[in-house]
Each structure stands twice: as structure tokens, then as C-alpha cells.
């Protein structure tokens, strides 16, 4: 079955081919008419989007198109920017996360984030992974140790670091540091993981390790990844959203976007004609 939905108000957004999505599963993330301003500058312009659970969604688009800003809306990381103003609704598992009563700390336990540059704390490898548990007030040593081991295994780092858990995380290589940051996020057991260009600072081998990891993690988590790398988006994602100057130009199955995009602009971007 192939459904093509046209946005009725304006023709900007074309959501195509939502085939093979199990519609009985509740949508993990629903975005309704979201606008973001930095002072007078509008960074996000009226975006609607739905993201299904256990999928990898790639956000692509030229620098400054708003994809990172958009990603950071999901765990309210933009809250710290003074001039930032947001309108619209973002529902995660049915709850609007921008309601006044929302506990932002609780929200972020549910929605982990991996950043562009590996940013381990200047602490030991173990302490890095245990951090999220310790700030929740968990004291049970055995429980923490088990979680740390599990998270490091999930992040495919355990074999490399199991004998030096007490060593500083800063002594690891860049790729290992980034996998450590992923393990740190996983230890809290979120359900959604946001990744902001997680491999842009890494070499090709580390990158492919992280890509394999994302593929594995998809089984248990919903992943949204911002990337500048077209091949990466096409390799790892199920859905791709193309942003341009704050607008969502096209959003749909990755295969479709990369082989037969609806919009000329999307085609120009992914074929490298601009960007």
C-alpha cells in the first residue's frame, strides 16, 4: 500500500510513501506546527512531522538549515539559549513536552543525546558511564556495575576497555570516546536517542563502527540522527527529512528520497548540486 499525503495548508511539505509502517504502534514523536526564533531570526518555520518507534530517522540539509536546532527541541536543549523562543507542540508518547509542568530532567532521562564532538567527562571510563545513574541517586553498587557493563557492551566498547575502567576517559581515542558517550547515554536506558552529527569528528573506521552500532540499537531505541554525510544517511536511516532554511522540504522513506525525490531541491542537494 502506498499513501501519499499532501499538506493541505501549503504545499511545502510532502510526506510520501509511508508504506510498511505498522500503524497500530503509537507514534513516538509528533511535531505539530513548530516555529522557533532566535531573537528576530526564525530558525524553524512551521514544521509538522511524525516519527515512528524503532526507526532511524536522518535529518539532512545544508549548514544553518535548522536541523540541529530542530533535533535539540526534542530534549529541550535549546532552553539554555537566552534569545530562543518556540511555538507549537511536540508530543512524545502522547505528552506535550513543552507544557509548563514538564520536568525537563525527567524528560532527558527518557531522551538521550550524543553530540557532534565526543565530550566525555574528565573522569574515569567507569564514572562516565555511571554518571547518569549516580545523579539519579542510585547507590546500589552492584546495580551500577551491571548497568555500566551492559551499556559498554551495547556500545561495542566493553572488550576494549574492560581492563581499564578506572583509567581516564580522555586517554581513549576519538572513536572510542564517542562510543563511550553512547554507552553513557544508554546506561540511563532512554527510549529515544538523538545524535547530532555523531561521526563528523571521527575517522572512517570509527564511523563505520558507530554506524553498525546504530543499526543494532534501532531494535530497542528510536534514533534521530543529524548528518552532513549523504552516504551515511542512505546507509543507516529508514526515514530521511530534508531541511532547507528552516523549512522541512521533504520527509519520507530514505530509499524514496534518495532514488526518487518529489522535490527538485531535495534532488539537487542529495546529488551534490548545492549544499
Amino acid at each position: 500500500m502506498e499513501i501519499t499525503m499532501e499538506k493541505t495548508l501549503d504545499q511545502k511539505v510532502v510526506v510520501n510513501t509511508i508504506e510498511a509502517i505498522d500503524t497500530s504502534k503509537p507514534s513516538k514523536i509528533e511535531v505539530k506546527d513548530v516555529n522557533v526564533w532566535y531573537g528576530d531570526f526564525q530558525a524553524i518555520k512551521g514544521i509538522d512531522m511524525e516519527i515512528k518507534p524503532n526507526t532511524v530517522t536522518a535529518f539532512i540539509g545544508p549548514s544553518g538549515c535548522g536541523k540541529s536546532t530542530f533535533l535539540r527541541l526534542f530534549n529541550r536543549m535549546n532552553d539554555y539559549i537566552d534569545s530562543h523562543r518556540m511555538e507549537g507542540k511536540i508530543k512524545i508518547n502522547g505528552k506535550n513536552i513543552y507544557k509548563k509542568k514538564v520536568n525537563v530532567e525527567e524528560l532527558r532521562k527518557e531522551i538521550g543525546m550524543v553530540f557532534q564532538k565526543p565530550n566525555p567527562f574528565p573522569k574515569s571510563i567507569f564514572e562516565n558511564v555511571a554518571y547518569g545513574l549516580k545523579i539519579q541517586g542510585i547507590k546500589d553498587k552492584k546495580f551500577i556495575e551491571e548497568r555500566v557493563e551492559k551499556a559498554l557492551k551495547q556500545a561495542d566498547l566493553w572488550e576494549e576497555v574492560k581492563d581499564k575502567l578506572k583509567k581516564s576517559a580522555l586517554a581513549l581515542s576519538g572513536g572510542q570516546q564517542q562510543r563511550l558517550c553512547i554507552a553513557r547515554t544508554l546506561a540511563v536506558e532512554p527510549s529515544i536517542i538523538l545524535m547530532d552529527e555523531p561521526t563528523s569528528a571521527l575517522d572512517p573506521i570509527s564511523t563505520s563502527k558507530i554506524e553498525n552500532l546504530i543499526f543494532e540499537l534501532k531494535k530497542k531505541y528510536t534514533i534521530i540522527i543529524v548528518t552532513h554525510n549523504m552516504q551515511q544517511a542512505s546507509r543507516i536511516s529508514d526515514y530521511t527529512a530534508f531541511f532547507y532554511i528552516g523549512e522541512l522540504i521533504e520527509y519520507g522513506k530514505t530509499k524514496k528520497i534518495f532514488t526518487n525525490p518529489e522535490k527538485k531541491r531535495t534532488e539537487n542537494y542529495i546529488t551534490g548540486r548545492f549544499g
Binding site: N75, M77, Y80, E105, E106, L107, R108, K109, G112, M113, F115, K117, N119, P120, F121, P122, K123, Y131, G132, K134, I135, Q136, L170, C181, R184, T185, V188
Partner: protein, 292 residues
């Protein structure tokens, strides 16, 4: 013509640097020279073990310990005051305060270090001591407690300003990582930012201690001039610096053993502050590149 000008300017700059270094070495030289003569008459063992310092009395004792404990006691009180206050200010300014507030308050705090120390000394003597006597009736008019407290206020900006610089230099990526895992501002400040800035904070504390140890006016005015081997903060003591002032102002005969005591005391002070500065320099160098 232009070349000559460049040449002259270069030489001028070079000689200014040279003069500064020469003066420093000159001072160290004089200190060392006079101290060597002093130690030819008084054994180093006596100097460091005798618990009495009475070079101006008939029964002469040359034990530096009373002066050293006086110095360390006042400095310890000062740092006990300055460390919690200074560090709290630093954390507040770096992690909580709005940018505009930080920009106004930081220079204002640094004014504390610009107040002439003689003013602090009188403040300790005629305000703080009488005030404290309300709580501690047997507090003497000269004591290390009020001198130490006021000295602590004076060195607050050393700690607040330098530790704020260190906290501010911690990359935002670390704060974001912590917030991203559901940490509160307080948790992020104390579990991530302060540990990451610890080397800078330690340097600020060492420099503040070094400043307190070398401070003269406040202790000379408010702490008294009785070299006493004690850790009791309520009685008069004398610090190394206060002793040097006392002897320099008095009519001690030039070239006598009494006169040379100030060089022996001076070089002791110099060694202590030199060690502290070296340690802080080492720490700074060791951790400087961490985030670059």
C-alpha cells in the same frame, strides 16, 4: 633611519626586561648574602627548632617557629574565610548569574583587592576586634583571629575571580552532556564543572595563600607584635612580615646580628612563597592543554 628606530626600540624593550630580572636577582642576592652571615653566627638547627624568638632582648633566642606559626595561623584563618565565600561566588558567577550581572560584579569584587591594606588593618583593629569581643570576651585587642578574617576578605577576589575564570573555561560541551542526561544545574556544577576546573581552582587557592602569607600591613596593625609559639587565635602573635616591619622601623644597629635577623626571616618568607608559586605554576602548566 627607520632601521635605527626599530633597533633602538628593541634594545629599549630588552633592557626594561633585563633591569626587572636584574633587580629581582639583586634582591635575592642581598637576602641570601645577609642570611649567610646570619647563619654563620646562628646555627640553622637552632633557627628551625628553638621555640622562642627574642633577638631584641638580652636573652637572645633565634627560633623562627613562633613567627612561622603566626604567619601560618593568620593565613589559615584567612583562607578558611576566603575559600568557601570565594568559591561560592565563582560558581555562582560562572554557572548561574546572567551574563550582564557577571560583567558588572566581577570588576566590583576585584575592587576588594584594590583597597589599601592599611585600611583593612585599621578595620580589623577598630571594627572587627571590638565586634568579636562581644562574642569572645577574652579576645585580646591584638589577635590573629580578626586579622585573619579581614585578610580573608581581602583575598576573596583572588579566589573568586581566578576560579571563575577556570570554571568559565570548562567547555559547554561538558555541561550539555550532563544536562542531556537529566542532571540539574547544581549537579552539573558540582559533579562536572568544578572537578573539571579543579586545577585552576587549586591554583587560585595557592595564589591566595601566597598573598596572605606575604601580607604585612593588616597583621602588623591588628595581630600584634608578640612572637608567640601558639595556635590560639585569640592572643597576640607576630608574623614574619610584621617582625620585619618592627625591626626595620626600630633603631637596630646596622650590621648587627639583630639587624640580620630580618634577612633570615625574609629569606624564610621568600622560600615559602616561592615554593607556593612554583607549585601553582606547575599545576597550571600541567593542565593547561587539557581542553585545547
Amino acid at each position: 633611519m627607520r632601521k635605527i628606530k626599530e633597533y633602538l626600540i628593541e634594545k629599549l624593550l630588552f633592557s626594561s626586561a633585563l633591569i626587572t630580572i636584574a633587580v629581582t636577582f639583586g634582591i635575592i642576592g642581598v637576602l641570601g648574602f645577609e642570611a649567610i652571615i646570619f647563619f654563620s653566627e646562628v646555627s640553622i638547627l637552632e633557627f628551625f627548632t628553638d621555640t622562642q624568638w627574642t633577638p631584641l632582648f638580652a636573652d637572645k633566642h633565634f627560633g623562627i617557629l613562633p613567627l612561622l606559626t603566626g604567619t601560618l595561623l593568620t593565613s589559615f584563618i584567612a583562607i578558611s574565610v576566603a575559600l568557601p565565600i570565594g568559591l561560592s561566588i565563582g560558581i555562582y558567577l560562572s554557572e548561574y548569574a546572567p551574563k550582564s550581572f557577571r560583567k558588572t560584579v566581577k570588576p566590583l569584587l576585584e575592587l576588594l583587592a584594590a583597597v589599601p591594606t592599611v585600611v583593612y588593618g585599621f578595620f580589623a583593629l577598630i571594627v572587627v576586634t571590638p565586634f568579636l569581643q562581644g562574642f569572645i570576651p577574652n579576645l585580646s585587642g591584638f589577635n590573629s583571629l580578626s586579622a585573619g578574617i579581614v585578610m580573608g576578605i581581602m583575598i576573596i577576589p583572588f579566589i573568586s575571580s581566578l576560579s571563575e575564570d577556570a570554571l568559565h573555561a570548562v567547555p559547554d560541551a561538558l555541561r550539555e552532556a550532563s544536562f542531556g542526561m537529566g542532571a540539574t544545574k547544581l549537579q552539573t556544577a558540582f559533579k562536572v564543572v568544578v572537578p573539571a576546573a579543579s586545577s585552576g581552582i587549586i591554583v587560585s587557592i595557592i595564589l591566595a595563600i601566597s598573598r596572605a602569607i606575604g601580607e604585612t600591613m593588616i597583621v602588623a596593625i591588628a595581630a600584634g607584635q608578640q612572637p608567640r609559639f601558639t595556635l590560639d587565635p585569640t592572643v597576640p602573635v607576630e608574623t614574619i612580615t610584621a617582625y620585619i616591619v618592627q625591626v626595620s622601623l626600630g633603631d637596630v644597629q646596622h650590621g648587627s646580628i639583630e639587624y640580620r635577623t630580618i634577612f633570615a626571616a625574609g629569606i624564610t618568607l621568600f622560600v615559602v612563597t616561592f615554593l607556593l608559586n612554583t607549585i601553582s605554576y606547575r599545576i597550571r602548566k600541567k593542565y593547561q592543554q587539557r581542553y585545547e
